[in-house]
C-alpha cells in the first residue's frame, strides 16, 4: 500500500502525515508514506484543495485534515475489498 500526502508542506499537510502514520501504527500495517509537494504532480491528480490524501493512486480526500480514525476507516475499507 502506498499512501501519498499531497500538499505544499504547510502545517495541515504535516498533521495529515502524522495522522496517516498513527493510523498505520494502530492498524499494525506497514505502508509507504510519500509526501508529494510538487504542484505539477498535485495538479495531475486533479486536486485543487490541499492537503489531500491518496492511497494507491486514488485520491480519498482533499481540502481537509482527516483524523487518524478517518484514515483507519478508509484503509480498512480498502483491505476488505482486496
Amino acid at each position: 500500500m502506498k499512501i501519498e500526502i499531497l500538499g505544499m508542506g504547510c502545517p495541515k499537510c504535516k498533521l495529515l502525515t502524522a495522522n496517516a502514520e498513527a493510523a498505520l501504527k494502530d492498524l499494525g500495517i506497514k505502508a509507504e508514506i510519500v509526501k508529494v509537494t510538487d504542484i505539477d504532480k498535485i495538479t495531475e491528480y486533479g486536486v485543487m484543495m490541499t492537503p489531500a490524501l491518496a492511497i494507491d493512486g486514488k485520491v480519498k480526500s482533499a481540502g481537509k485534515v482527516l483524523s487518524a480514525e478517518d484514515i483507519k476507516k478508509i484503509i480498512s475499507e480498502i483491505l476488505k475489498q482486496e
Binding site: M8, T43, G46, M48, V59, A62
Partner: protein, 121 residues
Amino acid sequence: MAEKCTCGGNCTLVFPCSGSSDVGELADRIARRMTKEGIGKMFCLAGIGAHIDGMIESTKSAGRIISIDGCPVSCAKKTLEHAGFKPESYNLKDYGFQKGKTAVDDGAVEKMLKYISKENE
C-alpha cells in the same frame, strides 16, 4: 487548478457548462471573470463528468458550488447532480440570454455578474 498553496477548503467553485453555443461561451467567460475578480474559482466540469477522484474530492470540500448553464438543457447543473452535488445554479436563459441570439461580449458578462452578485447580497 492549484497554482500556489491551496491549503484548506471552503472556497467557492464555479462550474460553467462551457458549451459550444454562444451562451455556452458566455457561461465560460463569466466563470473566468469570476475567478479573476476573486468571486470564486472556475473548476473543470469535465473532470466531474469523468469522475476524476481528485476533482470530486476537491469539490466536496468547497464551501459553495455554483453552476452556470447557457441553456435550459442544464448540463453543468445535471453533471454536478449526477456526482452527488447540489449546486447553486444559474441558467442564462432565465436572465434573458437566448441560445443562438446572444452576443458574447463584456457587456453580457458584466450584466450576469451583477445578477450573481445581487442574488448573494
